[in-house]
């Protein structure tokens, strides 16, 4: 290229840069909008299959809507008029009926159920899918174990359209565990053709393809950008959903998600921050729905293996020193259920999550510190930076409060990626953390957070044989339906946990959703993801 030519071309490019015209909507697009739902959230799925390695919570949403399970839950209307799944009522989804025997449960499949590719759903598919969930390892296998579903031998094909699940022991959680996302039914014939020696369960294929028979199928997936679903018109798992198409866009900026909603360009913004929720409620332009997250609490957690938190008096002193209401106002803009200020630490009913008997009482806290005989404490408060918008204000208030009773603290912000490995080490002395369980039963929460198996969520490393007796007692009583024994044990373990306070409950957070006024049918689900099937537009 000649020098002069080059210089000329530079000027040409500069002159060619255009001033763009504003966008216009075409008529075809307006039609498509009425049958399409546009959902915006902060994150999208990283894997379309909940059985995959490291599938994130958004991925659970895809699995929930694209696969059927044998059974699901009914929905009910809550006192505030919002819809929620009903923990205690099951309804058939792929199954036509469910027959619970003494040591097994038998499911008869719907005759006309078809996968997305038109293949009929048979007992073989169900068996293959349940086998898959108990053998792939990782999260799905752990979740199945929570309902005492561990061996392939438990799943028996009776005939082409009948499946029996045998119990290894009586467990109240077995049936609910068959209604969570994990035991989804996959198209086994299709997946067998995709399986390889290294990948016998075809996880590689289901990572980016939906191979089920659920109400929706994914037609396009751009990770981190958008997921597009279309309705499976032959779905028989329930009432055919109204919406033909779902577009789910990832919008990382919180402010823009709000702008999209307020301008009316998006239909649903899911999982809002407390700040946006409280402000948007006041503006009253949209429908804002808030539901308490079942079986979930934010707590201040004390590691009972690190002195001085091995001393119950110190733990109680901390529980009396925390400025609970201030914490709830600063971190949640008041949008949470208090888990403090109850009548007593000795609870007298089995409702869960339950309030502790603690409240902000510095004099009592100081007295307890004096009794404990411990002084000059220097420690750190840790929290997950991924939940920084909630945990950071809490940690500052906790730091200030503990300073008043002679506990000096430094704040340790742990990046999201490291949080779980830090939790697994069990070396953090004091942390602010959240736990919630899918299966909404107190013994399930205690099994993870207080039992002697010392799971990763028992961040306090609290191991107490008496506690284990109560937890196991409650689970055993529930399995045989002994209500009195169950109530006694549940009240026993809650009271014990609150008196010994290895973790100090703060509040139960809410799951907040904004929808346009023409959207109805949103229901809260235990998995805290969106169920498109019940949503109606117009």
């Amino acid at each position: 290229m000649k020098r002069r030519d080059f210089l000329k071309s530079v000027t040409g490019v500069a002159a060619g840069a255009l001033v763009p015209a504003p966008a216009i909507w075409s008529a075809a697009k307006a039609d498509a909008r009425s049958e399409t739902l546009l959902v915006v959230t902060e994150n999208g799925p990283n894997n379309l299959d909940i059985h995959g390695v490291g599938t994130n919570r958004s991925g659970y949403e895809t699995s929930w809507n694209c696969y059927d399970r044998l059974i699901s839950h009914e929905t009910k209307t809550l006192p505030d008029g919002t819809l929620s799944y009903d923990r205690d009522k099951f309804k058939p989804e792929l199954a036509e009926d469910m027959n619970i025997g003494d040591m097994s449960v038998t499911f008869k499949l719907k005759k006309n159920a078809k996968f997305h590719d038109g293949t009929p759903v048979t007992a073989k598919d169900v068996k293959w899918s349940l086998d898959r969930s108990v053998t792939v390892g990782g999260f799905p296998t752990v979740q199945m174990k929570a309902g005492s579903l561990v061996n392939k031998e438990q799943f028996v094909i009776v005939d082409d359209s009948t499946v029996r699940v045998d119990f290894i022991k009586k467990d109240r959680l077995t049936i609910p565990d068959l209604a969570v996302i994990v035991p989804s039914v996959y198209n086994s014939e299709l997946l067998k053709t995709k399986a390889t020696e290294k990948d016998p369960w075809a996880l590689e294929y289901t990572k980016s393809n939906t191979a089920g028979g659920g109400a929706y199928k994914v037609t396009s997936w751009k990770p981190g950008v958008e997921t597009v679903y279309e309705r499976h018109d032959d779905w028989v798992g329930g009432k055919l959903p109204q919406l033909k198409k779902i577009i789910w866009r990832t919008i990382p900026s919180q402010g823009n998600r709000r702008a999209l909603m307020e301008r009316g360009d998006a239909d649903i913004s899911f999982d809002l921050s407390s700040k946006d929720t409280s402000e948007m409620k006041k503006a009253n332009k949209l429908v804002i729905i808030s539901n308490p997250i079942g079986n979930g609490m934010y707590c201040v957690e004390l590691n009972v293996k690190t002195p001085p938190f091995d001393n119950p008096k110190v733990r109680q002193a901390i529980a009396y020193a925390l400025p609970y209401q201030k914490i709830m106002d600063a971190a949640m803009f008041g949008l949470a259920n208090p888990m403090f200020g109850g009548p007593s630490n000795n609870v007298t009913d089995i409702s869960w999550p339950a309030k502790t008997g603690y409240s902000d009482d510095i004099a009592k806290a100081k007295a307890l510190m004096a009794e404990s005989g411990v002084s000059n404490i220097d420690t750190t408060i840790s929290f997950d930076l991924g939940a920084g918008d909630i945990c950071e204000p809490i940690s500052v208030l906790v730091q200030e409060a503990l300073g008043q009773i002679g506990i000096k603290t430094a704040i340790n912000k742990v990046p999201g990626a490291n949080w779980r490995s830090e939790m697994a080490k069990k070396s953090m002395p004091l942390m602010i953390n959240f736990f919630s369980g899918w299966l909404d039963y107190p013994e399930y929460y205690f099994f993870w957070c207080y039992s002697g198996q010392n799971s990763i969520f028992n961040t306090s490393s609290y191991v107490n044989p008496d506690m284990d007796v109560l937890i196991n007692g409650a689970a055993a009583a529930a399995a045989i339906g002994d209500k009195d024994k169950y109530a006694k044990d549940v009240e026993g373990f809650i009271s014990k946990a609150y008196n010994e306070v290895p973790r100090v409950p703060l509040f139960q957070p809410l799951l907040n959703v904004a929808t346009q006024k023409n959207i109805s049918g949103y229901a809260y689900w235990f998995h805290r993801q969106l169920d498109y099937r019940s949503i109606v537009k117009g």
């Binding site: 080059f6 500069a14 763009p20 498509a32 490291g54 823009n256 999209l260 301008r263």
Partner: protein, 336 residues
């Protein structure tokens, strides 16, 4: 040609270095991917299963050998967070970033270069002060702030701009993938509706980037023009009675272009990797936000792939700029 071949040779050790450093760097980063991806309700056993399936239980040299072998086959590995091959992911995201960065840069050049020239010619005048104010404001406003402000005004309040939800609005269909640049692809296929849709999506983020990159380009143009205008051959040209236009554009500007082109190269490669915030604000599916998300999740493969891609791009860009020097200024060619 020989010069270019020689330059290419020096690139090889750089790339080997980059491969080793990125590999080691991602391994010493805190955070355990196996624990992260084991998800909720993980048990030590399930974590071990995942560690094995990720190959993280093997010794480090063994992992490195696998990594290099994969690279040699053009395999960048799989991203765990998006569940796709890194190479596919980068090749689909790089055009998005490049389209945005190039548009921003071209916009910046169109404004900054004339502004810089005017400021130099009319030193101390109103234009010169304006140039200083724009440049200072441009660098001092953080990009995410400019971005959010523009969204607030032009989308939220005025409604002139479409919703900031990425490269296309939710109901438009993407053009067939030819170059990966939506503007070009839609023009090639004659789809003017998509062209307009993607152009209108591009305006705000491109302006945001342009505001940010105005400063270095304007200042560099002004400074280098000032130096040239003070030199003797310009005085000679003026003394010979050439008009202002010829003196400034033909003689002064051409000679002042070398440092400007260098700056452009730097600004471009900087923007390409560092416009993460703009990508976040406008939900732009670019390469920067991809790498940052991966880093936050201890997802090694995309981070390695990103650093490697950026290193290659940077090297290529520098090579291109060196070649441009020769076109702009024959003396550089002779010396080489």
């Amino acid at each position: 040609m020989l010069t270019i071949a020689k330059r290419l040779l020096t690139v090889i050790p750089t790339l080997i270095g980059v491969v080793i450093v990125t590999f080691l760097l991602t391994r010493v980063l805190p955070g355990d991917p196996a624990v992260y991806f084991a998800g909720p309700a993980a048990t030590p056993q399930s974590i071990a299963e995942i560690r094995k399936s990720l190959g993280l239980d093997r010794p480090l040299p063994d992992q490195f050998a696998h990594y290099v072998n994969d690279l040699a086959h053009g395999n960048f590995g799989n991203s765990l967070s998006t569940g796709r091959p890194v190479a596919t992911e980068i090749s689909s995201r790089l055009p998005a970033s490049a389209e945005l960065t190039l548009s921003g840069l071209i916009l910046a050049i169109v404004i900054a270069v004339p502004l810089g020239i005017f400021a130099a010619v009319k030193q101390g005048s109103f234009i010169d002060h304006l140039c200083r104010v724009i440049a200072t404001a441009g660098v001092s406003l953080p990009v995410f702030f400019t971005g959010l402000l523009l969204v607030y005004i032009f989308y939220f309040n005025l409604g002139w701009s479409p919703a900031p939800i990425g490269r296309l609005d939710a109901f438009a269909t993407a053009p067939p993938d030819i170059t990966g640049f939506y503007l070009i692809d839609s023009l090639i296929t004659g789809n003017f509706e998509t062209f307009r849709a993607s152009l209108s999506q591009l305006v705000l983020p491109a302006v945001t980037l342009a505001v940010f990159s105005l400063a270095p380009i304007t200042r560099m143009t002004r400074a280098s023009m000032l130096a040239i205008l003070a030199s003797e051959f310009i005085r000679t040209a003026r003394a010979s009675g050439l008009n202002d236009r010829t003196v400034i554009l033909t003689y002064a500007f051409r000679n002042a272009m070398l440092p400007v082109v260098t700056t452009l190269g730097m600004v471009f490669s900087f923007l390409l990797g560092a416009n993460v915030l703009v990508e976040k604000v406008f939900a732009w599916p670019g390469i920067g936000s991809y790498a940052v998300e991966a880093l936050l999740q201890s997802d090694f493969a995309p981070v390695q792939g990103f650093v490697l891609t950026m290193a290659v791009l940077y090297v290529a860009l520098n090579l291109l700029i060196d070649m441009l020097y020769g076109v702009i200024d024959p003396r550089v060619r002779l010396e080489a």
